[in-house]
């Protein structure tokens, strides 16, 4: 099942775009911005009512006069609304700049791309770090529990505000893939094409376990203070540990061996001071530190809980839920992804096909683990690009 265009030793030093300092990276989109929408009167699945939500979002490309070319991109756990183009605040490219832009897999010359920061996040959309209207202080742990369905419900309100009654497509990886599935299953008339990547219909015990390690690291940080840390020191250490664990689960044994092996950061005379470390240690430390600067620990607790609680089929019989789906599907998994293993995608595909949904499924042999959808990945990009192109033409023929 080898994909010949991908040699395991090519491009192995890259990570996802967000946490990497890429001084030479140029986005063909140049500098792009995010905007903020306001959603009035939103009630979560848990019954909490927000009088008003703020939703940070980005749009790229041009909405067609028929308003039929919108693709919603849903970000994963650590993503944000800034999907592509250079972020003027950080100087970094958007998290999916490799695959969103003119002539890219999701072609902004053809499609109107929308990406919004998820409910409960910490990059412009209302979340635990936002101020409560009654006290003026951050919600912290008084923020209501939220679900993947809540995130999608907020997105439906955003797309309504943008004047889009039906999306051409919805896509995303991991947590974003779960949102794409909810769109197709629960808003069947609003989605034509659904492209879930490296995702599942519900977390396994292993996936929950890794998230719980992250949550425990945050909660046991002395600065967490039951979530009330916004006026003092943040539980940065706990969040960094959570990110380090998470990051390991996003890689593969292959990519870690090739990227780090047993290399050391500097020649070591003594390990007693803990300074001369393996390159992989320093890499994880950097990942942890840079994540802490941009992510709210409480958001991490809420979003991972939403991930673990998600079950696409917990609201009824599988057959009934699948029968309602109108979208056509492209499902992609990655052979080296051990966090969201291909077996989970195959099970999703099986359930969809058993309900007579038109599904194309491919399991790509890219060796970068769960991160495979985030990095430069020509076979992935080609398949995504061709699929969207064919489906858009099919729609118009």
């Amino acid at each position: 099942m080898a994909v010949p265009d991908i040699k395991p030793d090519v491009k192995i030093d890259q990570g996802d775009l967000q946490d990497q300092k890429i001084s030479s990276y140029r986005s063909p989109l140049g500098v792009t911005d995010t905007q903020t929408a306001r959603v009035e009167g939103f009630t979560t699945e848990s019954g909490f009512r927000f009088d008003q939500l703020e939703v940070s979002y980005q749009t790229l490309g041009t909405l067609s006069s028929a308003r039929d070319n919108a693709i919603l991109v849903c970000h994963a756990l650590s993503g944000d609304a800034h999907v592509a183009g250079m972020n003027p605040n950080t100087g970094r490219p958007g998290w999916w700049d490799y695959h969103v832009g003119p002539g890219k897999a999701i072609d902004t010359d053809k499609f109107f791309v929308i990406c919004s920061n998820a409910l409960g996040g910490c990059a412009g959309t209302t979340g635990p770090a936002s101020s409560r209207p009654d006290t003026g202080k951050p919600y912290g742990m008084s923020f209501p529990s939220i679900t993947i369905r809540d995130m999608v419900a907020v997105q439906t309100r955003l797309t309504e505000q943008l004047g889009i009654s039906q999306l051409f497509g919805v896509t995303g990886g991991s947590m974003g893939g779960m949102q794409a599935l909810v769109w197709a299953a629960e808003y069947p008339e609003r989605v034509r094409v659904c492209v879930p990547l490296a995702t599942c219909t519900s977390h396994s015990a292993m996936q929950i376990a890794f998230n719980e390690i992250g949550r425990r690291a945050i909660r046991s940080d002395p600065h967490w203070n039951e979530g009330n840390y916004y006026e003092g020191r943040r539980p940065a250490h706990g969040l960094a540990v959570a990110r380090m664990v998470g990051h390991v689960t996003y890689l593969s044994a292959f990519s870690m061996t090739h990227k780090f092996g047993r290399k050391r950061q500097q020649p070591s005379l003594s390990r007693l001071d803990d300074a001369a470390m393996f390159t992989v240690e320093s890499y994880l430390e950097h990942q942890g530190e840079s994540f802490v600067k941009r992510f709210d620990p409480n958001s991490y607790l809420y979003l991972t809980r939403a991930l673990d609680d998600f079950d696409l089929f917990d609201k009824g019989e599988v057959a009934d839920i699948v029968r309602r789906i109108r979208a056509r599907f492209l499902v992609i998994s990655f052979e080296s992804d051990w966090l969201y293993p291909p077996a989970q995608s195959r099970e999703l595909v099986r359930l969809l096909k058993r309900g007579n949904v038109a599904v194309t499924y491919i399991n790509l042999d890219t060796p970068y683990g769960h991160d495979s959808f985030l990095i430069e990945n020509p076979p992935f990009a080609r398949i995504m690009g061709h699929y969207l192109d064919h489906e858009y033409r099919r729609k118009n023929s």
Binding site: M1, A2, A358, I362, H390
Partner: protein, 199 residues
């Protein structure tokens, strides 16, 4: 594969039917079926590179190993299931045929006839495993796991409780009607199930 096999299958498949093509390769034939017969088509292919080619053609395709079963499809999901040049490459043909009849109403199989005259002569005169235009690879590189003749396939059908409804035999020069087990290089056949017997 002999181009006559493809022409025959195109002729047999009615317009707007639903077709599952097992071992669809790069999707070239499935695309022809979709375009000329407006079928609802789907391919199954093991090789990711070939699956990608199918996506580039705009086909619905599933990357998977037929040998692991077709559990993703409901009973009777397709009118036709195609096994063109595929059956002889699979370890357990009877199981595959069983699965094909579970998900499809009718099954089309094509295979290379190992009792063709030139094959017989090569074994007899040269004492070597034969290589012919329809069996072009040496023994150590062929994907075929099984070598069968037209008569073998008839026995197989009896064993499996299936009936050959239509059959077409071809050599390089065209259709073969007389002495097909001796003169045909490739055979394509449309199968029906006989009341679940042995299946």
């Amino acid at each position: 594969m002999n181009p006559h096999v493809y022409e025959t299958v195109l002729d047999w498949i009615p317009k707007k039917s639903s077709v599952l093509d097992l071992g669809t390769g790069d999707g070239a034939f499935l695309e022809r079926l979709v375009q000329s017969k407006q079928i609802r088509g789907e391919g199954v292919e093991k090789d990711a590179v070939l699956v990608a080619r199918c996506v580039e053609r705009g086909l619905v395709v599933h990357q998977g190993d037929i040998a692991e079963g077709l559990d993703q499809y409901s009973p009777g999901a397709f009118d036709y299931v195609l096994l063109l040049g595929t059956l002889q490459e699979l370890m357990f043909p009877l199981e595959i045929i069983r699965e094909a009849f579970r998900v499809g109403r009718e099954v089309v199989v094509s295979y290379t006839n190992f009792a063709h005259l030139s094959v017989r002569l090569q074994v007899l005169l040269h004492g070597r495993t034969p290589m012919t235009p329809s069996l072009p690879t040496p023994w150590y590189r062929t994907r075929n796991l099984h070598f069968l003749s037209l008569l073998d396939f008839q026995d197989f059908c009896r064993e499996a409780g299936i009936r050959e409804v239509k059959r077409a035999c071809f050599s390089a020069s065209g259709a073969v009607r007389l002495l097909p087990n001796l003169r045909a290089e490739e055979v394509v056949t449309l199968l029906h199930q006989i009341g679940g017997q042995n299946l």
